[in-house]
Symmetry: C2
Amino acid sequence: MEFLNEKGQTEQQFLAEYDDSMYRKANNTVDMLLFTIKDGTLQLLLIKRRNHPWINRWALPGGFVNYDEDLDTAVLRELREETNVSDTAYFRQLYTLGKVDRDPRSRTISTAYLSLSPQENLKDVRGGDDARQAAWFQVEKKTVEQDESQRISKLTLKGECEICYEITEKVKANYICRSSRLLSEDELAADHIKLVNMAIDQLRSNAISSGLLFNLLPETFTLKEVQTAYEAVSGLKVDTPNFRRGIVSRLTATGQYRQGRKAAMLYRFNPLYENMEGN
Amino acid sequence: MEFLNEKGQTEQQFLAEYDDSMYRKANNTVDMLLFTIKDGTLQLLLIKRRNHPWINRWALPGGFVNYDEDLDTAVLRELREETNVSDTAYFRQLYTLGKVDRDPRSRTISTAYLSLSPQENLKDVRGGDDARQAAWFQVEKKTVEQDESQRISKLTLKGECEICYEITEKVKANYICRSSRLLSEDELAADHIKLVNMAIDQLRSNAISSGLLFNLLPETFTLKEVQTAYEAVSGLKVDTPNFRRGIVSRLTATGQYRQGRKAAMLYRFNPLYENMEGN
DNA sequence: CAAATAGTGTCTCTTAGACAATATCTC
DNA sequence: GAGATATTGTCTAAGAGACACTATTTG
């Protein structure tokens, strides 16, 4: 059935006459938050910007979306161009930032992606294109004060320099209001710190339940390695025996061992539908 | 400290020369998924489109973001214009859809928001602007087949017409692949069904844990009302005594009663930091 | 053998879930 | 009093968490 609109047009006629340039449009960009576990700590890949705005500041890899390019294609392309990383174990959309004045060039709406990968896949990281450098920064979020209606944390990125923010998260009626305050001399470009904070929260709350954690580990791993990764992500210390018991039920033993003081069984994660989250 | 870029420009000079119109840009739109509990069922607010594309199809309320308008402002404005709803208890960003060919007019990137409100606040719903009508549709997602690697569900919207999809969710390595197949004669506009499916999944998985459920209820409510709302959202039946015990610990009794067969205590929800999720 | 790492056992307390029973109101 | 709704109680089995212990290898 073919409907006509109020001007009596068919869809074909409507589209033929459609003027796409009537209004001023925003730019669309993508940003990538790529995490890995290195030296037993959670690390985030940042680039040092080569050009204005935020020249010489550390920032998330990312850039403009081409007109005929999907968002997820764009974010992988930008990651490749700026950091030489072309393969990650996992990625998914995180959040879209779109405040009117967030970019001094012009209105820019940025969709951020969260990506996870074991360090093995990420050997040859190097800056390129708009990135003067690419480097790993250790990420730490520590709660310094908490009651039932608010939480104050310190979010620290340690690498070539140290970038540190105080994050305040307050419950107001049904919402959480977040604000951040710079504590260090160096700072992240734009509003990227919001994304880092969001990513950590999501990573923590879904590390085990959705199996996100296992994307930070190689194909096979020992139970100790899972625990180390979990402690790095969560910022907590856990009881080894209890942690083991909690986790083995979701793993399969490979029958192979990793040598060391005492040889340790290697396991593999079996993703099950039940465990994956709804996003 | 003032840095110069490779052309020797200061930031001011760079911005003054910055050409914002070099590349073709996408449109940015917003869509709203507003849920409520009505007649003991979960319902979603849809509008019937007045113009091409998808003329006369049911769709999520939404539309173009103005150049100088924040995304959240835009989505609330569009909701008001198209459905006359100007106040909801809760809303937050859900997902950004940006596939190149998702809109026949031109490239359109759409950021969707999830909103919840008790029915009391939503009395005078009516279509306006680009919406010929606005109406509530009962939402139901039922799993019809499930194993450890895949789940097939039926997602049904019942209102002025019945719209029904089969949703297949498969675990592939670390990802969930979702696909949908139309089962009914009527269908939703664009790719809106993806958002409905996502919203339901998120609503279900966070109903209790993040207290989302209580945004669907009035300020004070009986335990039975919470249970009914929970059952509507989750699609499950729960044991009344057990459900009560699980939930009362997060509520405060008001000391007031709702009359009925037997008078029932009215409770209030106390949002605590602990319970709110990281997004 | 000492030190380090891997792994098991056990006890307690809380919670989830199934189900029985009681209480209070309306018709 | 019948029937509907609200609320309390009880039992069991599984899980979370604390902590003591054994096992295997390296230096």
